[in-house]
Amino acid sequence: MTSSSDVRSPARGGAALALHGAVLGRPGAPVVHGVDLEVAPGEILTVVGPSGCGKSTLLRTLAGLLSPLAGQAGQDGRPLTGPAADRALVFQEDALLPWRTLRANVELPLAVKGVPRAERRRQAGAWLARVGLAEQARQLPHRVSGGQRQRAQLARALAGAPRAVLMDEPFGALDAQTRAGMQDLLVEVLHGTGATVVFVTHDVDEALFLGDRVALLGNDRLTAVRDVPRPRDRSAHDDPARVALRREVLTSLGS
């Protein structure tokens, strides 16, 4: 779908990710069985489930950090062979390198790609400005707040122009107010990148706000995947279809 010649153009399509009959977990310790999941290019798929149900395992498998114990994991119809710059991972917390300033952290994926220093600096500065951290660019991660660290992580993930962004409860450690702001920021910065997003969370409201579709994980397997009515629309909170879906998701998680 994307030929290698247009890799540098900004409007590259998102990646299509798929799991077929996959058993996920660390070797000798399977967590989730028989997962069949297709993520369409450019969509935002949220994954909800109670803690310990294998959400992070699912994400690490899609990132290529873990191989499926059985079945297949693939991107654009080809099996995954390992982690790649194509699929960026955003962690819950403390994934910024503490000895690098925020700007140097955002520059890192560009350095890995071999972007020249001056260009690296410019792009990292632009990304930090975009997530509202222009002032803090030269600070070390432990000198800024948790919310600012997550913004920097978001900038770092997107700076490498990945075709898929995999997010592991990125706002899970933030207070409710900061969290809502971060959700809006995420929607805003994703706009125009075309990247596919898989967003793992244990917060049902967050999943229903962000996702085009929501996948429910529980009981050692993927229980359902549902389309979300009016995604990324704050006023849709009271939409009857949304309310019904929310009730269904909560019931399924509670069982």
Binding site: R60, A63, G64, L65, P83, A84, A85, D86, R87, A88, L89, F91, D94, A95, L97, P98, W99, R100, L108, P109, V112, K113, L140, H142, R156, G160, L166
Partner: protein, 292 residues
Amino acid sequence: MTRRPLARHVLRTLSLAAALGLWQLLTSLNVDLWLRFSQFPTVADVARTFADRLAGPDYWTDLTDSLTRILTGFLLAAVLGVATGVLVARSRLAEDLLGPVLEVVRPIPAIALVPVAILLFPSNEQGIVFITFTAAFFPVLVSTRHAVRALTPVWEEAVLTMGGGRWRILGSVVLPGALPGIFGGLSVGIGVSWICVISAEMISGQYGVGYRTWQDYTVVDYAGVLVGMVTIGVLGWVTSTAVELLGRRLTRWLPRTSYVPAGRMPRRARGTAAAVPVGPTTKEGVPHDQLV
């Protein structure tokens, strides 16, 4: 309750002066109360000998010889210790191949390797460097191995998902992340190196501070022995301070405000503690001091 820096310096100088005064008093009065000070050189004797030595050429030859030996041995140990430590921590094959040998050799005190050094090396000089190297190698190796194993896994995962390979991870995650621990090992290593270089010089050296000190002892020049000891003390202090300062400079990113005990620093300096590591926070600011 905070004392001003000036007052603290005065207090420290007074403490040193009092110790020297007591020494002078005990030795010049030839006090013999179980501890026998009658044979002990006075401060004035030592100072006079020191001044004589400083004026002669031998003292400086000894000094440069000892420094060359320790720096060569220590730098070799730093490079090879870090390399081996990273290798053993990151590769199971390396751990299986090198681990047993290292574990068996490690408990042997470096100074006990003098016979080995004499057998193996064509010259005394190389033997002394070898012993100094062995002394510093193991503390560096062990602390590097621990530091590398204790790295936060998400740092590596993050760089992997940026498409970074093995060397990128080594350069951008493993080495910088392990640096605080590595410097813990280097601080211990430089101290042990001094012990071993002096001992090795006493046993088999030609020139060198250790050799000179032992020579003075055999010809009953006790003031000379004490000059040697003071020299060793000062050299040891200077080199470990250099390692310490370098370490603090390279690990400036560590969040260290929590290590500064309340009330030890004037208020206006507190905000700049992280930016100016060579501030008045010396001992308390360095976490790896606890390893020493």
